[in-house]
Symmetry: C2
Subunit: 235 residues, 2 copies
Amino acid sequence: MQAQPIPTRKPQDATQKVADALALAIHEHRLAPSTKLGEDEIGEIYNVSRTVVRAALQSLAHVQLVEIQRNKGAFVASPTPRAAREVFEARALLEPRTARSAASRATPRDIEILKDHIAQEHLALDAGDNGRAINLSGRFHIEIARIADQDTISHFIETLIARSSLVIALYWRRESALCESHAHHALVQSIADGDEQNAEELMRSHLVDLNSALDLRNRPIQVQNLRELLQTTDE
Amino acid sequence: MQAQPIPTRKPQDATQKVADALALAIHEHRLAPSTKLGEDEIGEIYNVSRTVVRAALQSLAHVQLVEIQRNKGAFVASPTPRAAREVFEARALLEPRTARSAASRATPRDIEILKDHIAQEHLALDAGDNGRAINLSGRFHIEIARIADQDTISHFIETLIARSSLVIALYWRRESALCESHAHHALVQSIADGDEQNAEELMRSHLVDLNSALDLRNRPIQVQNLRELLQTTDE
DNA sequence: GTATTCAATATTGTATACAATTAGGCTGCG
DNA sequence: CGCAGCCTAATTGTATACAATATTGAATAC
């Protein structure tokens, strides 16, 4: 079974397509924080005009995946330790309640989806594709928010998880094990059981674990080559 | 020294300027929900090209003040009762804690700013300018979030309050008094006193009051998209 | 008279051209 | 040798031109 494209929202227009591709690259840590995202360069890679690229970059800037400096250009966002801390504080505030809500509403179909996410996550880990595993781990949380059926808060959580990807890229302690989907599995179980209290508590502790796996003291800097990382043959 | 030729003033960031102007118009209820926002029309009004207008509209779409339908155009957002409920649920989740945090950090300068906000709000109310009063009332909440010094959550609250303006435009019960800044005054007092517990509780009850002033049962008439109205049974 | 088809118009989506700003290097002077 | 100033190249900001899609209205067939 080969890794298949992660089902993002279907890109209706070119702008969304480019934005999704860039977001995926960032989430999978192929694009490091602070990487310059030149408009011409991206446009050539995806065969679209700067108009489309600019719209995509602005879209990503709105969820703070990239930072746009006027007359300077767009860069992959590089959250400060303070911002990183805030992201996880906000998640700790929102997600436990979301997990509780999900436990009270999840359908068998939802449980299937969650288990499928975990399965794919395991596959990615076994394949040594950490970037993809991190992305899938985040999408697991997004899926829970979707099940909770709170669009507004779900949207917030999506942006938080997007930024979490950057935080992890910058501050993850290598010595700590990658997202033990163990925790995810227990979460699914409590949600499937409709055990609201347990789901809430598991999510809370899960986030605490995640947070404790970060080292917010050092702020590494990396620069990479765009074209090699983004080059795709599909049209 | 030289004469300053200013045939046409070129703002630093035209996009932001247009977006701000449109957002203000929406917040002050000069632009009603579901109003069509044609690109050419707006461009002529502000003397900018469609490029700038499109960027501004997309920016507003990201905070859900406008809704963009592909190949159809941009419209002032019109939150459903469900969305309206969610907005205030999210505020109830975030703002009490923010008020508590503000109470623990506010400086005398911050208190001055808050009191100034209330004063301006009173002025607007006395002048019968309800739109401006509503906008100022919202900015009061944003100011508290700023004082709390949590950029991430503050950003969420900003978007929630922006949408609250639309919710109020659609669902506000005429019979209920407009935002009694009485509540705001008490809040400022508790924040000035550093009384965290009281600030949190006051904010909570204030939001409950706001919510109870809405009537989410009836969805106001919006004959913007007839096709949808005829096709959907509307839950 | 009604409904359907199809052309005409208007509006949005995208690409390209031009203007403004920035970054880097070169020269010239101290 | 070092630094200031300017000049050139590169990149972004904005405007305009062109393409694609949707809406409108009229003509035609039934």
